[in-house]
Symmetry: C2
């Protein structure tokens, strides 16, 4: 399905994902909960009960140029691979200063200074990723990124997250929560 | 108020704007109605009755670089100037091909090939403008632009609209409706 695809991340008592930890990185955190369900499309739009619900939509790329898009498409993997039993849900909100920057200024910080796309490319295809936009939805966060990976890539994932958090781009992040999840290995 | 500010354009029997015409430019049109109300912020979010309602949010610039943003900010005027008794509401939807382009490809079509920002700058400050994003909201249009101008600038406005519609960017527009409106001159 082409974007925009509405997605709801519903924390509560149901869902295939077990919530292992909910850690505030910047600003206010989120309450802990047992499970997380990821609802897509029309399922994501209805009223839903949960300890908390984060909503976003998939959308077009905002900074990647053609070469970068082609490189990403060539090596990125789909979600829900059987071996990818670990996940991370990382909602962030950027500062008003960030949003007031012009497009060329945001691109320069994002890629030329911070290598956001290049860093992510280094961890493909092991780490699958989907970005959700929330800035236009009146949500408490601007972006929600969802990652999936196999347990043997857990260290690589930590390395990638640490690299991104040390970039100039992260100075424009005023709220970030790091939620880690896991699910059972598929049988067999 | 900083963006995103939710806006609802409600066509029906009330509102300060008289709807003078509703013309389909590409694809399906919209029903005619008598009046249009422009609701902002929390007023725009509630359930509202109308012949039709278009929703969008103000947001950050997507293509303008720093020089262009500064030029726009230096000469653009606010909405609801007393003499600006004419308005145009132009919702558009772009093709899937457009949204699949990378950021550099969209920027090149938008400005280097089509001079979208430059054309708009030529008509400042006479024509005031506010852009609303709808692509992420699950709305039938991707963008809604609202323009206001004095009757003596009506010809300039037509000229600007014709120039934009003849650009390469407009090949990526699959639905466009052109709604023209007016309101009474302020007393005195």
């Amino acid at each position: 399905m082409p974007p925009p695809l509405p997605i709801a991340f519903v924390a509560g008592r149901s869902g295939i994902w077990r919530i292992d930890r909910v850690c505030p990185v910047s600003g206010e955190g989120l309450p802990v909960a047992d499970r997380l369900a990821v609802l897509e499309g029309s399922e994501a739009l209805g009223p839903t009960e949960g300890s908390w619900i984060l909503r976003g939509v998939t959308s077009n790329t905002r900074y990647a140029n053609r070469l970068e898009v082609d490189a990403l498409v060539a090596s990125q993997e789909a979600l829900l691979r059987p071996q990818a039993t670990r996940a991370a849900l990382i909602p962030i909100r950027k500062t008003e200063t960030w949003w007031d920057l012009a497009q060329d200024e945001r691109r320069a910080i994002f890629e030329e200074q911070s290598r956001h796309i290049s860093i992510g490319l280094n961890y493909l295809p092991a780490i699958a990723r989907r970005l959700h936009h929330s800035h236009e939805l009146g949500e408490p966060f601007d972006f929600i990124t969802w990652f999936e990976y196999a347990p043997e890539h857990a260290e690589s994932f930590e390395e990638m997250v640490q690299q991104l958090r040390s970039t100039p781009e992260w100075r424009y992040i005023e709220r970030e929560v790091d939620i880690r999840l896991s699910r059972d290995e598929p049988p067999g």
